[in-house]
């Protein structure tokens, strides 16, 4: 199950006579949020608390009207669903997402005094609610149209490109953009650190996971104790594990000169990596083990009976058949590691978590967002990408 699939309903029928209640209610929720919650907030500088503005003030009559029309359009189309209407709905959702930054550009012209170069625009609750609900609509439409996961992902990438273009070219006053501009070098380095840490932790646990799972298959006794240890590791809160590693690693670094030279220390990358691997091993080993075990015994019996050697059976039959489930394990592990790495910033391992904790310390929510949003995006991209890969690798296109 992918994150995008989490809300899927197992059986869907075409039924033109009944309205799609899911989409109709989502449309109503968006309309209510748009008109009752604040759309943007404006602050003259970084320190002062911003003032909130509703739809009319933020977008003006034409903007508010356009948004209302588009949002109601979703509900109206969903009232009499048909394949054509669903395609129109997909277009409407995508248009709304792509128009969201344009709305921000409009409010920056309407609300920001050109005399105040420090003034900054913040995203209001309505913006977040509408964005979130639009993503829910996208899942529902994808299921109704029976699209593969690839298409919505590509469309979302297009939307992200529009957002990025608008942000760099016209949205200097957006608080998020200002936070980014103030520390763009730091930001790129943090992303690099984050990805490196996740990549290293996941690739090490893939190798260790595979070896452990294969050992477990050979020595049945190992299986219980290994899973017990891995389960136990999983129950330690992440912060506690970082703390637990501090003392022994500091001692090692001080007493074993070689390790010290290699950069091992009580804080920083080493403990972060160790903790990440410790957490990654359970989902990795569990999925690898199950993947290898659930290959049909008939198939393996036939492989043996046909005269395939043990190595041939493993590489040509067992592993390829296990690959989709194994990749699910990699996907779960990676998404989990992307989130956990944020906490690693606390022990000086760097990464995007740095902004989250700095922002929390300075009560600067936009800076927290600067760390949190890329983590979210990274997780979604990895989730969709590896999910699509696992889907593509299903044997002979079986589902």
């Amino acid at each position: 199950m992918s994150l995008l699939d989490a809300l899927s309903t197992p059986r869907l029928r075409w039924d033109g006579r009944h309205p799609n209640t899911v989409l109709v209610s989502l449309s109503l929720i968006m309309l209510a949020a748009f008109w009752s919650l604040d759309v943007v907030s404006m602050a003259p500088n970084r320190i002062v608390q911003g003032t909130s503005y509703g739809a009319l003030e933020a977008l003006g009559w034409p903007g508010a009207l356009l948004a209302t029309l588009l949002l109601s359009f979703i509900g109206i189309l969903a009232w009499q669903p048909s394949p054509r209407h669903y395609r129109a709905l997909l277009a409407a959702v995508m248009t709304l997402m792509a128009l969201m930054p344009v709305g921000l550009i409009a409010s920056s012209y309407l609300l920001i005094d050109p005399e105040l170069p420090q003034a900054r625009l913040g995203l209001g609750a309505a913006y977040w609610v509408v964005l979130f609900v639009l993503l829910l609509c996208l899942i529902e439409i994808r299921l109704r149209l029976k699209l593969t996961r690839l298409w919505p992902t590509l469309l979302l990438c297009g939307v992200a490109l529009v957002w990025w273009l608008c942000a760099t070219l016209w949205l200097d006053s957006l608080a998020l953009v200002q936070e980014f501009k103030a520390r763009d070098r730091q930001f790129l380095r943090a992303i690099g650190q984050h990805v490196t840490l996740v990549g290293a932790a996941v690739s090490i646990s893939v190798v260790v996971g595979l070896v452990l799972a294969m050992l477990m298959r050979r020595y049945a006794r190992l299986q219980k104790s290994a899973f017990a240890v891995l389960n136990f590791l999983q129950t330690i809160p992440s912060l506690a594990l970082f703390g637990l590693l501090l003392a022994p690693l500091a001692w090692l670094a001080a007493n074993v000169p070689l390790l010290g030279q290699l950069g091992v220390s009580g804080i920083g990358t080493t403990p972060a990596l160790i903790a990440l691997i410790a957490y990654s091993l359970l989902p990795m080993v569990r999925n690898t083990y199950i993947a290898l075990e659930e290959v049909s015994p008939d198939t393996l019996e036939a492989a043996k009976g046909m005269g395939m050697r043990a190595g041939q059976r493993f590489w040509q039959v067992r592993l390829p058949l296990a690959l989709p489930v194994l990749l699910e394990g990699v996907r779960i592990t990676t998404v989990q590691a992307i989130g956990l790495t944020a906490v690693a910033a606390l022990i000086g391992a760097g990464g995007l978590g740095t902004f989250i904790f700095q922002g929390l310390g300075q009560a600067a929510m936009d800076m927290v967002l600067l760390g949190a949003l890329p983590i979210l995006m990274l997780a979604l991209v990895v989730d969709a990408g590896l999910g699509a890969l696992a889907e593509a690798l299903r044997p002979g296109g079986t589902r």
Binding site: S296, D298, T299, E301, A302, A303, K304, G305, M306, G307, M308, R309, Q312, V317, P320, L321, P395, G396, G397, T398
Partner: protein, 320 residues
């Protein structure tokens, strides 16, 4: 030729196969029949060393099977199992070409052989070569299973309830095709089944097993004429036995030349079975049939009285 002498297999305390001896001459079709858990599958799997036997000798073409490398031995023996065991991630052509590729045939040879076999088993190459196992019906999948087993042209074919999971109509069709195939290819076949009709239809040599032992073995007719005990008799269908025996006998073996009386109304081709002839007599309320050749020309006649008399004689001679 396959020869088992005093072969036993023990799993710990339990004896799965107990001192069995049997011989399958080259080109013959041997069926192992029995209820589930009687050791017939174990016996089969000992021949390609998927299970190693505990005692006795298994001899293949004059050599004890322990002499062979198990992997090389298995590549020389075709193997078909009940749920096909096709590789779901390989298409039909690749599945069939497995053993030739393991034997390092050239790509062109493998392809040629795969097409030849698909042709032989009635799977049009254009339609099926690139399909995956999950796109096939049960019957089609098992045809691929048989093609895969025949790919490297092995002398020996082991079949473990190959048609057990199919519906009755498909099963019968595949049985007929296998019989035709065997008439052409003359493989040495060991065939495991719990379906006595299937065994009677296909086998030259029938081996009935129970609790790891051989209860009786012989030709299908010999078993039908004289079952060793009530177990074999019940497997053979009890009261239906007579008809089963009739199904194995051709009309032409019991017909007489045309008598002085007028030809009977009902006509039956000479290569039909006695069972079909009896059914026709019942249907047409007649105790005589006119036997015709393939051009519908009368060549003799079949009378109920004579069939019964000859059956008595057969039984008498079998007793002696």
């Amino acid at each position: 030729m396959i020869e088992l002498s005093h072969v036993s297999k023990r799993f710990g305390e339990e004896t799965a196969v107990d001192d069995i001896s049997l011989r399958v001459p080259k080109g013959k079709f041997c069926a192992l029949v029995g209820t589930s858990g009687c050791g017939k599958s174990t016996t089969l799997r000992m021949i390609n060393r998927l299970i190693e036997h505990s005692e006795g000798d298994i001899i293949l073409d004059g050599q004890a099977i322990e002499v062979y490398d198990p992997v090389k031995l298995r590549r020389r023996i075709g193997y078909v199992i009940q749920h096909t065991g096709l590789f779901p991630h390989w298409n039909v052509a690749r599945n069939i070409g497995l053993v030739p590729r393991l034997l390092k045939w050239s790509a062109a040879d493998v392809q040629g052989r795969v097409e030849e076999l698909m042709d032989l088993l009635g799977l049009p190459v254009g339609e099926f070569a690139h399909k995956y196992p999950h796109q096939l019906s049960g019957g089609q999948a098992q045809r691929v299973g048989v093609a895969r087993a025949l790919a490297a042209d092995p002398d020996i074919l082991l079949m473990d309830e190959p048609f057990g999971a199919l519906d009755p109509i498909t099963r019968e069709k595949l049985q007929d095709e296998l019989a035709k195939l065997q008439a052409r290819l003359h493989k040495t076949v060991v065939f495991v089944t719990h379906d006595m009709d299937e065994a009677l239809k296909l086998a030259d040599h029938l081996v009935v097993m129970r609790e790891g032992r051989i209860v009786q073995q012989g030709s299908p007719l010999a078993l039908l004429q004289q079952p060793a005990d009530s177990f074999v008799e019940s497997l053979l269908g009890g009261l239906e036995r007579g008809l089963k025996q009739a199904a194995l006998t051709r009309v032409k073996d019991h017909m007489t030349s045309m008598g002085p009386t007028l030809p009977a109304q009902s006509r039956i081709p000479a290569d039909f079975s006695l069972r079909q002839a009896l059914s026709m007599m019942l249907r047409d309320h007649s105790d005589r049939l006119t036997v015709v050749d393939q051009h519908d020309v009368p060549i003799g006649e079949l009378s109920l009285r004579r069939i019964i008399k000859e059956a008595q004689l057969d039984k008498g001679s079998a007793r002696e």
